[in-house]
């Protein structure tokens, strides 16, 4: 098996809908673990685990404030992920062009 890079772990972090929703929630301001867990009806421990995954990928940063833990968006900008997706898009387009060529040659007409 191949070892996992930051990009791998970031894609994996984003693959969970709960975590994407947490990120969206944090887009409107910081929140504690309880506040994040509540709308999902999830245990604090469960949400804590999600937050840890998001912290490991730097998508979230946290700080202990009294007995609560404040979570907010982290420094991670997803540049590598955006780059991969953009490169992929270009690749697909080139493939489509090539496929178009083949179509033109075999069928001899457009559309």
């Amino acid at each position: 098996m191949v070892q996992y890079s930051p990009v791998d772990r970031t894609f994996a972090a984003l693959a969970d809908p709960t975590r994407r929703l947490v990120l969206e929630r944090l887009g409107s301001g910081s929140a504690t673990i309880s506040e994040l867990a509540q709308p999902f009806g999830m245990s604090l421990t469960g949400m804590k685990k999600h937050v840890r995954v998001l912290e490991e990928t730097q998508l979230v940063a946290t700080e202990k404030v009294g007995r609560t833990r404040l979570c907010h968006l982290g420094p991670r900008r997803l540049d590598d992920v955006r780059m991969w997706v953009e490169t992929y898009r270009q690749m697909v387009n080139e493939q489509l062009d090539r496929f178009g060529d083949v179509l033109d040659r075999t069928k001899g007409d457009r559309q």
Copy 2:
């Protein structure tokens, strides 16, 4: 647990480095299962499983040709994934702006 949407499955499909490399390989033209498996020193069965994941997310399409299976890039354009990442980027920027505001005001309770 939340149920898994196509976006979820796509992020998960892209989380594996082997699968991303397969996609990149297919960017330069179609290939059989054997041809895809060879550079990874992986069993055909193993590669077949990866291809199935990519097929389920429409990132790859395949067709049986004689005793081989030809794989090429599928119809999936990753538009939803790109959209999510882009929206996230804007969100982070807004957060950074807000953080600047807070700094200007010296203190600041959250919310």
